[in-house]
Symmetry: C2
Subunit: 328 residues, 2 copies
């Protein structure tokens, strides 16, 4: 039983404050080869989860396509032969151990994977690049579908490897949303979404305080190799500016290292609303980095310099939501 | 007369290529005190112009409010007593020597100043924070009015100094435009505009290749002093990300140093479409920095990763142009 009233109030105030400080783990993964089974991968995810729980994390963020290799680097004539890369349910038999262990430990997580849905309309098959957010009690908060699908639609055999995301995934028709979770307002984006200021802003205008972003970023960009040595710089630049300009934490989590011969950027990081990097991965393999994210820090930007209601000028932003020039 | 046809073609091709490489000077200014006359200031501008011409520049960019002190740091009860800080015509008697010398040297420039206009409708007085762009032949390309007016509307005597831009200036009703000039597509923004990704994007969607941005940025930000030590970081972050995400050069030019007791950020810089800083000021006084800006570099971003017609998703950007929540 608490002692004097003032002490109890003080304890409560501290607890209330504490509830806005979310210790987050970014669970970077090294390569996943084609011959690795889901079960092998999930064992790695569980191992990182346990390390995060030991470190006091409330939330662990995994990369984009965290259950498989980055299969859009391979072309197949018949897309149905690639269906085994997609999940049809979440959780499923392979991922249930992750869900069970997370619930046992009372830790939430965000998991990227490919999702195959059977749309009852016209019996169509829909293929998505998604992240699912799971609360500490095991309940599913939401599933986000990638909005900005990069790469190309058809086989380009002259490339050293393909980037066929536009063949394997539809762009989300749903846009960006924000959920009440982990004591704050949480949004998600995936990989290329982080290069577009619109992604952060759509969530920023919904009061987002923490954006969770998995990515797979090959170091070689075939359309303009002059960008190759700048991949790490660009990765940090877009996430730091997006964080600052919207007063939000950004958790960027890579699948890094050389996967099936393709070197990919690691450099996972946890970024503050000030744009400062709080934690950064130092390897390109499985690695957990953590930081205490005080969500109240967001207010120092949202309520001052970036008070959007006061300072934005939507009446002169006439082009941002207009259809592209080549639209029908 | 040219020799063989192939040589002539070769020379022409080189000239054509050359015409897309614009050598630009960022003419940073140190403090301007209240007692400095326009004539004294213009002599400094001319001196920097001549240095730029000697260095082969085609274009010189001056800071925001380059003819006066940053007078929004002072409150006056009767705003009409501040009218002497504004220009009513451009060029005028005080600035004519700058226009004359620029035309003589065949060098263009971009000049920031306060503009007072008499609106015939209702005989109203309009006060703007503007930049005027002048071509190498002395013709005026256009005048840009600042869109995002920061600071506060009324006197806040508890601040160590005021930031009364919202008292002294109306926000532009015109938004962001791009002009064909200097062999490319040139846009302008002023100071706080550079913190808003919408500024770059509105111009990016008009194909901008070079954004000219003057600024006055006090190192102390009264509403949240935790941002004070980050001013230089934030300044670079927003301009570098805006350049990269829109495939454009950004020329950021400060009035730096301690002006009437208020220390302001210097760190003028010329930024490439890659987001890399090509040149950076090393003092906080009058200083010219220069760089060759190859406007064709922009295509490496505009035509690949940031091909907006191909990759943007305006159909799901439902909040960007919507009125603010507290709109009538």
């Amino acid at each position: 039983m608490p002692g004097a009233g003032t002490t109890a109030v003080g304890a409560c105030a501290r607890l209330c404050d504490m509830s806005r400080i979310v210790r987050v783990g970014a669970a970077q993964l090294g390569p996943i080869e084609r011959h690795h089974s889901r079960e092998e991968v999930v064992a790695r995810l569980v191992s990182l989860l346990q390390a995060a729980a030991d470190d006091g994390c409330r939330l662990v963020v995994y990369p984009e396509l965290a259950l498989t290799t980055f299969f859009p680097r391979w072309f197949v004539d018949d897309i149905a032969t690639a269906d085994h890369w997609y999940e049809t349910h979440m959780p499923n038999e392979a991922t249930q151990p992750l869900f069970d262990e997370a619930q046992r430990l009372g830790i939430g997580f965000c998991l990227g994977y490919a999702l195959l849905e059977h749309d009852p309309v016209g019996d169509a098959i829909r293929r998505w690049n998604v992240q699912t957010l799971v609360e500490r009690d095991g309940s599913i908060v939401g599933t986000f579908k990638k909005v900005h699908i990069p790469g190309h639609e058809g086989h380009e055999p002259d490339r050293p490897f393909q980037h066929l995301e536009r063949y394997y995934f539809e762009p989300s028709p749903e846009g960006f949303h924000v959920w009440d979770a982990f004591g704050g307002r949480v949004g998600m984006m995936i990989c290329n979404d982080r290069r577009w200021p619109e992604s952060y802003r759509e969530m920023g205008m919904q009061g987002v305080e923490m954006i969770l972003c998995g990515y797979n970023t090959p170091l070689h960009y075939a359309p303009d190799p002059s960008q190759d040595p700048l991949q790490g710089f660009h990765n940090a630049l877009v996430m730091q500016s997006g964080a600052y300009q919207n007063g939000t934490f950004v958790i960027g989590v890579a699948k890094g290292g050389t996967e099936e011969g393709v070197p990919s950027l690691a450099e996972s990081s946890i970024i503050a609303p000030s744009g400062e990097i709080l934690a950064s991965a130092t390897t390109d393999g499985d690695e957990l980095i953590t930081a205490d994210c005080d969500l109240d820090w967001c207010r120092q930007y949202k309520n001052t310099l970036f008070d959007m209601d006061r300072y934005r000028r939507p009446e002169v932003y006439t082009r941002l939501s207009a259809p592209p020039r080549n639209a029908p």
